[in-house]
């Protein structure tokens, strides 16, 4: 399975010139910066710096772009933890527990955990890619639109059922998100729900909507607080605590491995990628944890689950790009452009003929993970100082940054206006216990879910029997049903289990009232 002579050639290529390693450092720093500034995206960083790769050879270009990807994957977790603003869509789940940890004064630990999980995740992800690039590419080829639609529905159901206090409200949020995600010009050639605005022809700008619902709405909730961390003694930025958090990562070996496997698999599905891998990993971790109620309250396992998945999904999307020539998301789409700029076509032929380059890229990413530790530890203390900024300065600054960033994403005023509208929507959702994350992921993936359903319909000719030819689709749909019913069943079983001692210890006349109290 592993071509050892190509491995040797790859290593010689990688160490043939120091330029291959020197180019990684600015790449990681660019990624960290773009990931850490709300509104700036990894794909944007890569697109901006893509012309620079014209002056590089193909190998240098790939290493430069993948290092931006690696730095950005971690960078997005910094605002997610410190400000509840997922710097990128792949850091959404990081904010679920990272931000509550920050509010408890555990921001140093959370940042250290995120850095540790990201670095180990990259190592595991590329390790899996090194061992399994062949089988992964074969598996991905078998994923059709029906599987993609099923994965999207499963992801949203999971998020909806687990991220809101009310399961029904959570699923309603996800479904409304999916419907909003289909606004605009559709694959079927019709325009819907645009209210006559040309800005909505391409649909609701998903990332500005995400910034509005997650970040701006949270800032509205914090207008009356003095500091992000209320206790002055907990506001310290400590490299020791960050390092302790980094070391703490190894206490979650199963969490990292599970997150990494989910990340590689989901990340390799074209189009779905890291934006859903981190969420599914988080939800699976929450379901399997002995204390699922602690998730969302600042459980370090939540940060580990999300960060390990989003960093490994990079390796998954690289597998699809290298093996099939299909980009998994915006970032790998830019890489595909770099392929074209260097007259190289990704796909089975590339893997077969340029195996040494593939292995060199994989080994360079091992190096990137190690360099990320150093650079991350160097810059985190600087970035973590945000907890010392009074909220009356932080709130308008971050709101303004969101507006700038959203304009940067759309190139017109639809971005800032989307942030404003969805900030209000997010605030209402949070106030009445609707799932903001399910709605956001729905908006992000609504268009893709519809396209997948259309392709499935076209391939199947509208015959339901087609589903029986797709066992993977049926398996994912069964998982969806288990996710829906499983939570309710678990609640019933838990309630019954909790009631048993009550029944044993109280007399018959008290039973009913006690049960109701429970």
């Amino acid at each position: 399975m592993i071509d050892w002579s190509a491995v040797q050639e790859g290593l010689s290529l990688l160490f043939s010139s120091p330029s291959y390693w020197l180019i990684i450092i600015p790449g990681i720093l660019i990624g960290l910066l773009f990931g850490a500034v709300p509104g700036l995206q990894i794909s944007m960083a890569m697109a901006i710096f893509l012309p620079v790769t014209l002056y590089m050879n193909f190998m240098q270009a790939m290493l430069f772009l993948t290092s931006i990807f690696t730095g950005g994957s971690f960078g997005g977790s910094i605002p997610a933890i410190l400000m509840n603003i997922p710097g990128t869509s792949s850091s959404i789940a990081t904010s679920f527990d990272g931000y509550p940890m920050s509010r408890k004064g555990q921001h140093n630990t959370a940042l250290g955990l995120a850095l540790g999980s990201s670095c180990i995740g990259v190592l595991i992800g590329y390790g899996i890619l090194f061992l399994l690039i062949g089988p992964i590419s074969k598996l991905v080829l078998k994923m059709g639109p029906s599987e993609m639609a099923a994965i999207i529905l499963w992801g949203i159901t999971l998020i909806g059922t687990l991220s809101s206090g009310s399961m029904v409200k959570g699923v309603i949020s996800g479904l409304i998100g999916l419907l909003l995600g289909t606004i605009g010009y559709s694959e079927a050639g019709v325009t819907r729900g645009t209210l006559g605005s040309p800005y909505l022809l391409d649909g609701i700008p998903a990332i500005p909507a995400m910034i509005g619902m997650f970040a701006a709405s949270e800032l509205f909730r914090l207008v009356n607080t003095k500091y992000l961390v209320e206790d002055a003694a907990l506001r310290k930025v400590s490299i020791k605590a960050i390092l302790a958090g980094f070391q703490k990562t190894i206490r979650y070996p199963w969490g990292i491995i599970r997150g990494s496997l989910i990340g590689v698999f989901i990340g390799s599905v074209p189009g779905v990628g890291s934006s859903i891998a981190n969420l599914i990993s988080y939800m699976v971790a929450k379901k399997q944890d002995a204390d699922p109620e602690s998730f969302g309250q600042g459980n370090p396992a939540g940060v580990v689950a999300s960060e390990s998945a989003n960093s490994t999904s990079e390796a998954g999307s690289m597998a699809t790009l290298l093996a099939l020539g299909i980009p998994g998301g915006g970032a790998t789409a830019v890489m595909l452009a770099a392929f074209a700029m260097h007259n190289i076509t990704g796909g089975p032929q590339f893997i077969r003929e340029e195996t040494d380059i593939v292995y060199a890229i994989i080994f360079a990413n091992f190096g990137q993970a190690v360099l990320l530790i150093g650079l991350g530890l160097l810059f985190l203390p600087l970035l973590a100082n945000v907890v010392k900024v009074p909220m009356n300065y932080l709130v308008p600054s971050v709101l303004s940054l969101s507006v700038f960033g959203s304009f940067g994403l759309t190139g017109n005023m639809s971005g800032p206006i989307t942030v404003m509208v969805f900030a209000l929507v997010g605030w209402v959702f949070k106030r009445f216990d609707y799932s903001v994350s399910a709605a956001v992921v729905g908006i992000l993936l609504g268009g893709m879910a519809e396209d997948s359903l259309i392709y499935t319909y076209q391939i199947s000719g509208g015959q339901w029997s087609y589903l029986f030819e797709r066992p993977a689709t049926i398996a994912i749909l069964l998982l969806l049903i288990v996710s829906l019913c499983g939570s309710s069943l678990l609640a019933v079983v838990t309630r019954a289990h909790n009631l048993r001692p009550t029944r044993e210890s109280f007399s018959g006349s008290q039973k009913g009232s006690n049960a109701r109290t429970k």
Binding site: V223, N392, Y393, V403, F407, F432, E450, Y457
Partner: protein, 153 residues
Amino acid sequence: MNPKVKPLTKHQIVDLTVLVALASLVVWYFVNARSASTHILNLILILPFTVLTLFLCLIQFICQFIRPSVEAPAVESVKSVLPVISLFAVYALTLPWLGFDVGTCLFVGAFLWFHGERRWPWIVGYSLSFASVVSLFFIAMLPYPMPMLVFPS
């Protein structure tokens, strides 16, 4: 003895109103999409998901009547948030005329003033420097022009 039926609180009434508003949004979108085209490819996702959402809204509506949600302990009062939302809306909507530089400076300055900062040098200094640094950074980084009043876009 029948237990006294408690009247719905203000929070619970607004909660139900939000639910009805969401259901109405879904119905409006379906009607809009249907008027655009009744072809199956246009409604393949919208029709089943609309039906499902409305069904869940109905279940939730009934549940909220039978077992109203407990009022969530919100840290922020609506009265304290509405001025911030209004200020943010004015900021976002006036950007094409004020430009990102001046608009941001005014927004940050106004926010600081409304939230207790009374040291004028701090208000002016911070809002000016923040707006300038961020505007210049984004002007340099973005490949397309941003509306600006003072800085060249």
